[in-house]
């Protein structure tokens, strides 16, 4: 599904990613753990194609297509989705309007008819219900005045509505209480299937307990230092990151 080779990325001439190699096959869930500033979010942004992040070297392939130079929008339309850590507010634009515009942009790209309003409402209301969100959520301006938990749930709502091929969850667990964390984890588990792949970026092993990734990677100073299974996440939870810094 996703194949990243020797990816080197800088922001404002500062090198952040120093050669990432990562392969996530179809149907697998991988997790990347690491301290603050180790480059985890940079990786998410680089995969999404954010122009603030300059790719100095290396490549990103999705389903054997080189997407390293592809526009943000085309990457999104090819099936890449990011659940952002701090999704930006767009005052005056309702969640429903935004979500429908987004779904229909994907439909148009896939040569499908626009999703009509009734179908959209039925679909989104079902998901809202699963995320313990009220229907009125759709009327609110996107991310405008949302609580931390609502922002994360809004991202999961979009994930489930768009059903992408490859999802990146950038610290989707941060700032959530235990109930919200479970709700979000359930959402992610609902999304995961043999036909898609997921990359979970997190500091803590907490979310991973509910999602159970196939592979856990540890990022240190812009590189993947160690990879393993869930036991690696548990070890980090117990010992912290310092033993990996040597």
């Amino acid at each position: 599904m996703i194949k990243i080779k020797n990816l080197q990325v800088s922001i404002d001439e500062k090198d952040i990613l120093k050669g990432i190699d990562l392969e996530i096959p179809k149907g697998e869930v991988h997790a990347i753990m690491g301290r603050n500033g180790s480059g985890k979010s940079t990786l998410a942004n680089a995969i999404a194609g954010n122009e603030k992040y300059e790719v100095k070297n290396g490549s990103i392939h999705m389903n054997n297509i080189d997407i390293t130079e592809m526009s943000v929008e085309n990457r999104a339309l090819s099936g890449i989705f990011v659940c952002f850590q701090y999704p930006v507010a767009i005052p005056g634009v309702s969640m429903a309007y935004f979500l429908r515009a987004s779904i229909n942009a994907h439909f148009e790209h896939q040569g499908k008819e626009e999703m009509d309003a009734v179908e959209f409402l039925n679909k989104s209301k079902k998901i809202l219900n699963e995320l313990n969100l009220d229907d009125s959520f759709l009327k609110r301006s996107i991310n405008d005045g949302f609580s931390g938990g609502e922002k994360k749930k809004s991202e999961i709502l979009q994930l489930l509505c768009l059903n992408p091929k490859f999802a990146i969850l950038d610290e989707t667990d941060s700032g959530l209480d235990i109930d919200a964390l479970k709700t979000v984890a359930n959402g992610v588990n609902k999304f995961n299937s043999k036909d898609n792949s997921t990359l979970i970026i997190t500091h803590y092993e907490r979310l991973l307990q509910y999602i159970n990734p196939d592979v856990v990677h540890v990022m240190v100073d812009g590189k993947i230092k160690k990879s393993g299974d869930m036991s690696l996440a548990k070890e980090i939870e117990k010992k912290g990151y310092s033993w990996l810094l040597k």
């Binding site: 954010n50 122009e51 943000v72 929008e73 952002f84 309007y97």
Partner: protein, 483 residues
């Protein structure tokens, strides 16, 4: 990113103005120049009563003593008032019958999407139109139907003849000819405009609107609109404006006076789309407009909503004098400047009565090299107990060559006043665009989505049909303005 922005902005600037065509018709037009004789001739052509001619002449004398204001944040070369023609009108036999109107003119309005044909009225959604072409009104639709309810809706010239008492009583009562340079000029040479009178306790059964079309070259358009809402009445009025693309600048200096008596409500909406000039700032309308309403009676309400997308220069401050106790004044504005457009616009709320309340919501959008200034004054006089004002001025910048400026003036003479002021300026966020793009939404769609969201509070104030038009206008105006 910036280079790419610029490229796409440049591409956008080549876009055609949709309403820039010219209508070729026979016309009567004064030779350029302005003196007392021109005013006499103008008054004569309109069969005006003596008092009105005298009023014009007094205004003219006053204007000659005045100086063009320089305090606004706009820059333009000197205007040669002697090089303009002060009257241009298509040759029409009669205003009464639409069949006798030049088909070229009817075609013009059709092209602009304005139906002057009453039969074309959609079920339930009637909009009565006064169509003003250069210096004269072509026709006013639904007049008879409105008259059944006692609503008077006609051209200003017609009102002068038909309802001289009302005109005499109210003309200049809100904007005296001494008010400012452009109001004085307008008072001297105004040609036509709309007149509305809503009788006591009548809720006007349809939207009233005036469509202004400037066609003739080297002409100034000076229209005068007067709306009187008698006790307990209600009216919603809309004006739209377009003009052909011409290389020279055209002057438009209008006056609009609103009078709301006890318990009356006037809602006045404007969609201004005059020709804005080309990408180098050549041509375009100079729009110097004085609009003011008075809430004369208790519990009266005046609400201004404006969407300003056109004109090379916009100088305009629709204001409300809150004289009646418990009266309400509102100002909702979206002003867009792109290319080299300049807008200095805002409002004045003057609180005189007790428990008066005003709301100001201003949204400025600047793209290209556009300069957008909000200038607003809130005055609470000594006897205005418990006056309240809420002001919110937000600006959004698209690209890095444009500018947004805010000049709020607050003058409070009564301690019980409650004032709130909020202001923000932001660039159209790259983060917002990235977020939309990451969801598969194309750049142009993302921009119009973000801008429409930004303007939402104002668009919500527009009558339904026009809110849609305003949204589309903004979308077309800002197409390709970011990269």
């Amino acid at each position: 990113m910036i280079d790419k922005n610029q490229k796409i902005i440049d591409k956008n600037l080549d876009q055609e103005y949709k309403y820039g065509f010219t209508t070729n018709i026979e016309q009567i037009k004064f030779e350029p120049g302005l003196d007392e004789n021109v005013i006499r001739k103008l008054s004569n052509i309109k069969n005006e009563p003596k008092w009105l001619l005298n009023w014009r002449l007094k205004a003219y004398k006053n204007w000659k003593k005045m100086k063009e204001p320089t305090w606004a944040n706009i820059h333009y070369g000197p205007i040669d008032y002697q090089a303009l023609s002060y009257y241009a009108a298509p040759k029409i036999k009669s205003r009464k019958n639409l069949d006798e109107v030049d088909p070229e003119i009817l075609d013009t309005y059709n092209k602009l999407g304005i139906s002057l044909n009453e039969q074309k009225r959609l079920e339930g959604v009637g909009v009565a139109v006064d169509a003003i072409f250069d210096s004269v009104s072509i026709t006013t639709t639904f007049k008879d139907e409105l008259a059944k309810q006692g609503v008077l809706f006609c051209s200003f010239s017609e009102a002068v003849i038909e309802y001289p008492d009302l005109v005499k009583k109210y003309l200049g009562s809100v904007i005296p000819y001494t008010d400012n340079y452009f109001a004085a000029l307008n008072s001297a040479v105004f040609s036509d405009g709309s007149f509305v009178y809503i009788p006591k306790n009548v809720k006007c059964p349809m939207e009233l609107s005036t469509y202004f079309r400037m066609n003739a070259s080297n002409t100034g358009q000076f229209e005068r609109t007067l709306i009187i809402a008698d006790e307990g009445s209600e009216v919603s009025y809309l004006e739209g404006c377009t003009a052909p693309m011409r290389d020279e600048n055209q002057l438009h200096a209008a006056c609009v006076e609103l009078i709301a008596h006890e318990d009356a409500t006037i809602k006045y909406s404007t969609i201004q789309n005059w020709y804005a000039g080309d990408k180098n700032g050549k041509g375009g309308i100079y729009n110097f407009v004085t609009k003011r309403g008075i809430c004369a009676g208790d519990r009266s309400k005046i609400s201004w909503t404006q969407v300003e997308t056109g004109s090379a220069i916009t100088w305009k401050y629709p204001s409300v004098i809150l004289k009646g106790n418990d009266s309400i004044g509102e100002f909702y504005s979206v002003a867009v400047t792109k290319n080299k457009q300049q807008a200095d616009t805002g409002t004045k709320m003057i609180h005189i009565g007790k428990n008066t309340k005003s709301t100001i919501i201003s949204k400025g959008i600047s793209a290209g090299e556009g300069q957008n200034t909000y200038r607003g004054g809130v005055k609470i006089l000594k006897n205005a107990e418990n006056a309240r004002n809420f002001s919110q001025c937000d600006s959004i910048l698209i690209g890095d060559k444009c500018g947004a400026h805010t000049f709020p003036y607050i003058d409070v003479k009564n301690q019980t006043a409650k004032m709130e002021h909020e202001a923000s300026t932001s660039s159209i966020g790259e983060d917002q665009l990235f977020y939309c793009n990451q969801r598969g939404i194309k750049l142009d769609n993302a921009v119009s989505m973000i801008v429409n969201g930004f303007c939402k509070e104002v668009f919500e104030e527009l009558p339904m049909e026009f809110a849609v038009e305003a949204k589309q206008l903004i979308e077309v105006t800002l197409e390709n303005s970011v990269g």
